[in-house]
Symmetry: D2
Subunit: 434 residues, 4 copies
């Protein structure tokens, strides 16, 4: 008997996708989910936040990525896993839905917003799936407990660990999509690996998804690709500069609000965030258009710091940076803070240390804060072996955290000799700029 969960569209729908060529939709449930307002909202949130200020092509939305993750999972469950005894094909629809919806709770410029306003996009993903939303209505039509199942997969608490592994592990559909997609839209030559090969060698096995040994080199390529994308794109110093300024804008706006500052243009959408009582409905109204609208308005605010920061962000007049070693240069930082104050620049906003770090691949270390599930290779003998024990290259970089610290500041202000010349000269000497 055909039920909603097995209903197929009369004709397959196809979206043209630059990364996977086509996104294929045949399931009514998936089609309905794509049409919900909560999913369409992801069009108005960029996948890479402020990265478009460094790589001008990186203007692609999270909707873009979400469709891509869905398509990868669809190929795995329909073309690779279907028919294998270790895989329960009843998990098919659940896997597809979780893939499509895994990023549903992301807000605009998530990283900065979460930090400043103490939000959690994963909690919002859960809330959208389980709350009074169009998405929830569609999922409930499948069955009463279906929304909870989808939420559990995304929260990694679902009982069938194979499903979780497909969507969040060290080699999951999420990462495989974003590495390729972000490489495509930024135009960098990193980010390429043979995904078709990896999909063909994935195997469901007990409580995980493993990789046939013959696919090891494709996985090595994927790990290297991940490494390069982190350092060449995601942690690019110019992007981090934009992120620093964005964070400081939010910070300043909140501070002004707490000081009962009178905004020329009342920031309705921000009020509950300033107060820390954001509802789901408030949250869903936030998208990057809204944020950019306010930033444009704030370019004319009377508070000089808020105004300056917004102008910098909107017109890409970002901070410059010098390398900074926090373990050794603490005194230098203190000295600079003093000088910035003397120069009339609040160091809280104009002198910022930013650190990025990445762990390209990690094997399982039980008991540690972030227990990553390792990648296992399936040897011809049937034995499993953890990737870094088989691959020299992965072994070489696994478990090694690399961290990079930079000190950001507005170079144009420091070079401007119309006032405070002596102090600025001192600052320039310490920062080593001509």
């Amino acid at each position: 008997m055909m039920t909603y969960s097995t209903e197929k569209l009369y004709e397959e729908k196809v979206f043209k996708d630059p990364v996977h060529r086509y996104i294929h939709v045949r399931d009514r449930v998936i089609w309905d989910l794509i049409g919900t307002r909560e999913f369409q909202r992801l069009r108005r949130i960029r996948q890479l936040g402020t990265t478009y200020l460094t790589f001008h092509g990186a203007e692609h939305s999270r909707l873009n990525h979400s469709l891509g993750v869905y398509e990868i999972i669809r190929r795995i469950v329909d073309d690779v896993f279907a028919g294998r005894p270790e895989w329960d094909q009843n998990e098919r629809l659940l896997s597809l839905c979780a893939a499509l919806l895994h990023d549903l709770g992301h807000g605009p410029f998530s990283h900065s917003f979460e930090k400043v306003f103490d939000l959690d996009h994963e909690a919002f993903t859960q809330a959208i799936i389980l709350g009074e939303t169009e998405v929830n209505k569609v999922l409930t039509r499948v069955s009463d407990d279906f929304p909870q199942k989808v939420a559990d997969v995304i929260a990694k608490t679902y009982e069938n660990k194979q499903v979780i592994s497909l969507i969040s592990s060290q080699i999951d559909a999420d990462r495989m999509d974003y590495l390729q997609r972000d490489a495509y839209f930024t135009g960098v030559s990193y980010g390429h690996f043979d995904m078709e090969r990896i999909l063909r060698v994935m195997r469901p096995l007990d409580d995980q998804v493993v990789i046939k040994h013959s696919g090891m080199h494709a996985v090595e390529d994927y790990i290297m690709s991940r490494y390069q994308m982190y350092w060449q794109v995601y942690f690019h110093p110019v992007t981090r500069s934009a992120e620093v300024i964005l964070t400081k804008i939010l910070h300043r706006a909140k501070e002004l609000s707490e000081q009962a500052y009178f905004f020329a243009y009342e920031p309705y959408h921000f009020l509950s965030m300033f107060k820390g009582n954001v509802t789901l409905q408030d949250y869903l109204k936030l998208d990057e258009s809204v944020i950019m609208y306010y930033f444009q308005m704030w370019e004319d605010e009377k508070d000089p710091i808020l105004r300056d920061l917004c102008r910098r962000f909107m017109n890409r007049n970002l901070y410059k940076y010098v390398e900074f070693d926090p373990s050794k240069e603490y005194k230098k930082l203190q000295e600079l803070e003093k000088l910035f104050k003397k120069a009339g620049l609040d160091p809280e906003y104009y002198l910022v240390v930013d650190s990025s770090s990445d762990l390209p691949y990690d094997f399982y270390r039980p008991g540690e804060e972030e227990e990553r599930v390792p990648i296992h290779l399936l040897l011809p003998s049937g034995e499993l072996r953890e990737l870094s024990r088989q691959s020299d290259i992965v072994d070489a970089i696994s478990g090694k955290r690399r961290t990079d610290h930079k000190l950001y500041y507005p170079k144009d202000f420091i070079l401007d000799n119309s006032s405070k010349r002596a102090v600025k000269k001192q600052i320039r000497e310490i920062l080593g700029i001509e």
Copy 2:
């Protein structure tokens, strides 16, 4: 003596570009123009307007395209034309600036805005270049008459026709960039041609830019690519549906404003548009973030038409269409209009005929309204020949206008049987939907 116009950056700046691999900037003037707020504003205007609702990858901005056009011109003037006696290398900087700035006056969703509010983006491009703007300041530093020269090139009134031809002709840097760029971001397989080849065979000659005969096949490919992009991407029926709804939103808002409707949320940014007295400063504040912000607010307006249209646009619940022949089916349209009214649907907003037409290539027809400059091939003998006289394929399609008409309507309303069942049934019969 080095002046501002010949000043080079200490180190060449490079932007990663997915289409041309790298955008190279060595001239101080170009670098300064890129940093202006008017140029950075182009980040907030999509190159393809509503196309992202059909092709989800098409989220790239006009800044993206503007840099691309600049890069193409840079390669032509520096690598192909430099040193040729027929070319005046003094026009180099002017060509680069005109390339970079040629789309500066575009607003959000230009097509719809211009139609509803009677605006003209070309006039705004002129105004930005010649008015009190950061762009004008940079150009004036080159020389007092430089802004006017740039404006003249873009307006096609500049005396050196070679420069105009590079930037606007039937095979110019503008088209060469957008065809490739739009193909890249939508992911379609059309839009590819051998630009490197075309650039290498371009030759300045008298008052035009001609193509060496040996490059004819590459040009044929370009013309075909243009043809396919028009019909597969630019005139895609789903994009036109989004465009129809967008136009109707603006139309409705204007109408409401003229009827002194009380907006729950005052549309400040729109007021001068409603009144028809838009200043340059008003115009520069318009970008797609602002438009999307208002559309989101209007999703909760009390006017049912404005509210419905905005919800459709934001959540991609677009109109469906049937083919429509305006020359023969006029009566049918009248009949439908009557039935729509009976069904409670204002045909002004809910029953829309949209026509698209394109002329893939045209040879020169003096005296006609739109005098297109033809593409000339330079034969080995030194003789010039108009492209369509040499190429069978181009001859086949040149001068032939193709037009496509469709009738758009909200299918969900027509299928909804909760009211007016009889009328809707009649409508469905006429439209031929089940």
Copy 3:
């Protein structure tokens, strides 16, 4: 019950292919056919004959192409046609075998060999499939009448016209593979079209394979791609020059043999060809290695013409050409022939008119010599319409034969002034060379 015809390999075999990414083999029959000596022989015959002398990348073999055609058919029958009532899935294996083997009878540099020695590669394909060969043994294991069926499909006499249509029609797997493959290996930017799209819209219908209307633009692109490849690659004047010389080598060798010339190195492999009694076993020994071996030997033959021509071919010292209009310039040709003789150059070998012509697409014209099956579009109404009636572009070029004539000659000889200076001067004047 599993029989040989349905036997699957324990694990799918995969060949890496630059054009289709992977060639997948699961059927035992296909695997066995690939392993036959007659199929492996195709490794030693280049897909594009002498084209590698113009496009140095064009060194790919016919084995390469044969695997590609097989893979395209595999995707059609397994992914697109399987399960459709209009298609008889019992034809699956037959389609795959015919695809794989359709070029089996090609010899080295087929075009020239067939012309000079009056051979017919299609007859040899039949002979290999039906004769005493490893290929025949494999096919006979399927069933006694299976070799004949495969031969019939390739000969276009098989009763199920859908199967024939897949492998030889105006939009078949053969053409779709070679256009893309030849573009890939030559490196030209033509030859690209959206094959994935075309495959998805192919439909079996009555006695043909039709294209769903929505795929029309992809088909237009394919037709244009074909047009460009013909004129840019297949009929490239330099390739034709190599072809002219090759033909003349074969011609000379045959002539010498008939004149009982004593070859310093006896051309065993050629003897039956000279005499016109080539057996299948003789034919199968011919491959390009053998030909090149003899040409190398003949570089030192005492006959000055054979020696010169072989040296030219081996060391790419080809003839140059001028445009030539046979309908008007017949007298000029006669005059040149006289002068060549005076200059000591046999015009039979050193003054050659070569003509190429192509018909990019043709609709059905019953009764004409070459009855091409037209491409039919399947309209939403269920009606069929011939492609050129629906597509402006295809209409423009359909049925129009384009022909190009060139006159080839050894420019180095004509420029060499060590002898016959006066005559050569006259020749140069007529040919218009400096």
Copy 4:
């Protein structure tokens, strides 16, 4: 004054190249070198030897690669180095010629031939450049000492180490071309790195070519690409199987010749090789066509081993393999050798251990047998730093040799139970095959 060394062609010549898009030739000397018979001979030698039996696309010739290396050097010297004070532009033509000719002495299937007949392709490169050849004539026209200079660069004894470094170092034009080219023709997804970026950051400095620090990640990608190509393509076990058989064919033919075996078809081209007195003229006649010709003839020789091996090679009926640890499994090998003899299979030809090993990157270790020049990064401070000290990834793999051993054997013979069933059963048990 224009001399031969500075003479430019009237019009630039362009070859279409799939990897670098176009190969540009403007220098008369280069054009003349390309036209020599010794250079054209490289068309008949595959770049990757027997690899085409594993990757069917890998049929590209060494001429292909040689043009590619030339083009890379041309871009470096003309677009990157020209005008830099550290670079002597007088070395331009020398660099271009050495690039074009660096592989001139390669014979067919070099690896096997050199091993069996104790030949040295580098010595032949020297001999061709300095001997009585067309190449030598062209070079001598530049100046009397020019051939010697070119030979010195290729032999790495030339005084200007920058020139040597461009053509042979750990990041030279040779490697950059072949990694990309071999990846392109095999179709693998490895082998990609951002060469354009690397070229732009190369700097001549003292006696080497260094890399600007900002290009480090592109170099990391190149090193990884190299690593993957070695293990995925160059050391592919199937290719090694073909190589094993090829080596054994040559070995057998030599052995037979030494035993005064009477060849049904006298192997003229091989005689001097069998005797160890190969002249330059003999060597230049060897190409892959010649080899394949003999192998075809030998398929019918009466010696059963030579016949069998040739049939295997020609028809791709290769040996299978098992992993083998020579340090531990020596006894097993001895046991197998005994059993093979009992089974009537000469272990010398039918049981072969093959080992491959690679050192992906090495820093300088003076005094060791193979002193590799390390890659140096140029830091912003002007300081040089050896790559592996700056890059975690390179550090991880540098200096680590990885070796892989396999044991090859004819599985079909071992599975054939028509004779010696008991012995073959024992062999199968030891080899672990069913």
